[in-house]
């Protein structure tokens, strides 16, 4: 159970709640028995199928119910195919009626996702159904994905789904990189956007300066936000980044430090760069400062300091 605040109730409220819950539980048990009893009916029992949809809309994690629906769908597919054996042989079955069933299923998953946008089962069922559709509307899926990302831009199910769709629709890499740049410029402090970018970019001599510019812009705009610093570390620890550029960045970070003397991220970044540039004798001062600024992780800084001393 996540994020459910405990509420104080009066004795009467408690009794009312218990009665309501007891009815709800009886109802749930009756529904489950009804569905499981009719699970193997062929043709399927529309009443059970409908009750099942209702249960999933309130709780999409009852995984066996999704399995029931998949079984029904596969049996129906078979039925449509058998009804037109000639077409089946040509691989040319008119599956319009079957597609109709699938579309209802797609809209059911949408109801479920509205109630619980993080349901693994509902996302998976949606994709599974679309793969059976004779003409899946991937553009519509893409629009849905964009809509959900605008509601919660950290929902990793959505990002995963987007990735699958990009491949299906045939969106090119440059277009997707442009999308990523827009997202990042729109909000520097979204770790999911930075992650997504890291999966699109292959760091090399041609692009690394540009990446550094983008992430530098982010950390200088808002040095207290952690997201971009992780990306910065990825960029500056890559050998493709030239020494001269590293030195320039180090100088700029010194200036930033004067403005933000208590920002641990600036110090950490200086550490990454000085290590790369083989600067001598920086470690004691840097890590002593970090131990002071970020005492929760003093064990980390002590280890890093120890490493520096041993390697010098």
């Amino acid at each position: 159970m996540h994020g459910r605040l405990k509420i104080k109730t009066t004795a009467q409220q408690k009794a009312e709640k218990e009665l309501k819950q007891s009815n709800q539980l009886t109802q749930y048990k009756a529904s489950m028995s009804q569905i499981l009893l009719h699970r193997n009916c062929d043709p399927f029992d529309p009443v059970s199928f409908k009750i099942c949809a209702g249960l999933l809309s309130t709780n999409p994690d009852i995984y066996t119910l999704w399995n029931y629906r998949k079984e029904v769908i596969l049996r129906e597919k078979h039925r449509y195919e058998e009804s037109d054996p000639a077409a089946k042989e040509d691989g040319d079955v008119d599956l319009k009626a079957f597609d109709g069933l699938l579309e209802k299923e797609i809209s059911l998953t949408e109801d479920c996702l509205r109630a619980n946008p993080k349901s693994y089962s509902a996302w998976y069922h949606r994709y599974w159904v679309l793969m059976l559709h004779s003409q899946p509307n991937w553009q519509q899926e893409f629009a849905l994905c964009t809509k959900y990302l605008s509601v919660d831009d950290r929902n990793f199910h959505c990002w995963d789904y987007r990735r699958q769709l990009v491949n299906r629709i045939g969106i090119t890499l440059p277009v997707e990189i442009k999308f990523s740049t827009e997202r990042i410029n729109n909000n520097f402090s979204n770790y999911s956007s930075w992650h997504y970018r890291s999966t699109l970019i292959q760091l090399n001599e041609q692009c690394i300066e540009e990446e550094l510019e983008l992430v530098k812009n982010a950390v200088f705009t808002d040095p207290g936000d952690s997201s971009a610093w992780f990306y910065l570390k990825w960029v500056v620890t890559n050998p493709a980044l030239g020494k001269e550029t590293c030195q320039e960045l180090l100088d700029t970070l010194e200036q930033l430090q004067e403005l933000e003397p208590d920002c641990k991220w600036v110090l950490l970044a200086k550490g990454w760069l000085m290590k790369r540039l083989h600067v001598k004798d920086y470690a004691v001062e840097l890590y002593t400062q970090l131990i002071h600024l970020d005492a929760m992780r003093k064990g980390l800084y002590r280890d890093l300091l120890q490493n520096c001393i041993e390697n010098s």
């Binding site: 159970m1 996540h2 994020g3 459910r4 605040l5 405990k6 218990e18 819950q21 007891s22 709800q24 539980l25 749930y28 048990k29 489950m32 499981l36 709780n59 994690d61 009852i62 995984y63 066996t64 999704w66 399995n67 998949k70 693994y120 089962s121 998976y124 599974w128 950290r154 990793f156 990002w159 995963d160 990735r163 402090s189 770790y191 999911s192 992650h195 997504y196 890291s198 999966t199 808002d222 040095p223 207290g224 936000d225 952690s226 997201s227 992780f230 990306y231 570390k233 990825w234 933000e260 208590d262 920002c263 005492a295 929760m296 992780r297 064990g299 980390l300 002590r302 280890d303």
Partner: protein
Amino acid sequence: MTEHLHDVVLPDNITEELLTSQHIDFIKKYGEEQNKFEYGMTDYLRLSGMYWGLTALELMNAGVTDTQDAIVEYIVKCQDPDSGGISACIDHDPHILHTLSGIQILAMFDKLDAIDIEGVVKYVQKLQQFDGSFSGDKWGEVDTRFSFCAVMILSILNRISAIKVQKAVKFVKSCKNFDGGFGSRPLAESHAGLTYCCVGFLSITKRFDVLDIDNLAWWLCERQNPSGGFNGRPEKLPDVCYSWWVLATLAMLGKLTWIDGAKLQTFIFACQDQETGGFSDRPKDVPDPFHTLFAVAALSLLDYENIQKVNPTYCMPQHVIDRLQLDPKILPS
């Protein structure tokens, strides 16, 4: 500098000790009285729920003895004779998550022989995909959690060679990200829970060479917020279950000293329900067995008094892991 607080404020009246007897009570009564509704409505995760509760009890030195036979009998009934997989409860479908929970409980009771072990091995074997990944059941959803379940199950049964281990490692490796962490599938964002699964997988298969240990451990220790609690991803709120996912991973990597154990302990204590017992995800939320296990297990890794030692890879009591003669890779700190 803008402050970026994605954190909770701890209440003033935190009990600085573990309310052990209340927690034992909470678990034992789960399903009776106050939680009847919760219990009844969560049959679709029953076996995992039993694993959470029973392991928490064992770690608090209150392992059940009188109901063991009934529990074993129940698990036996949950095994599907055709596929060999185990379901969450009777009449529901087999799934690798519940197969693992069933195996973990039976291993704890030293009753693995009660079920058809060959059936379980075949079930897991069949779920491995061509690319080395595992699906959760026959319907094909792939996730790194399932790779971890597969090697946990098979190592407990001493049958890890039943699957293509190298291919399985290759798949998990393909889920590693720029920050050193892991997601649920290739290219998916790092998440502390899935990172725990992947590092646990590599601990069992003894393949830490796949990891960028220092980079990953840094990302993990940055999950600790000023409140002392851990989040699962940057800029997310802390949650007591991440105390386990993050801490256990750091324990496998030998980096427990990289976080503030005292502050974490305070956060965990703040999540215990002083009235009913049990732990919730955050202070003042509704408690449940899931968060209770992971809070207690995290306290075990912090060497809290009177809690049994837990194994960071398997999230099972260390004495069970020793009896099974399992030796997952765990780096010294």
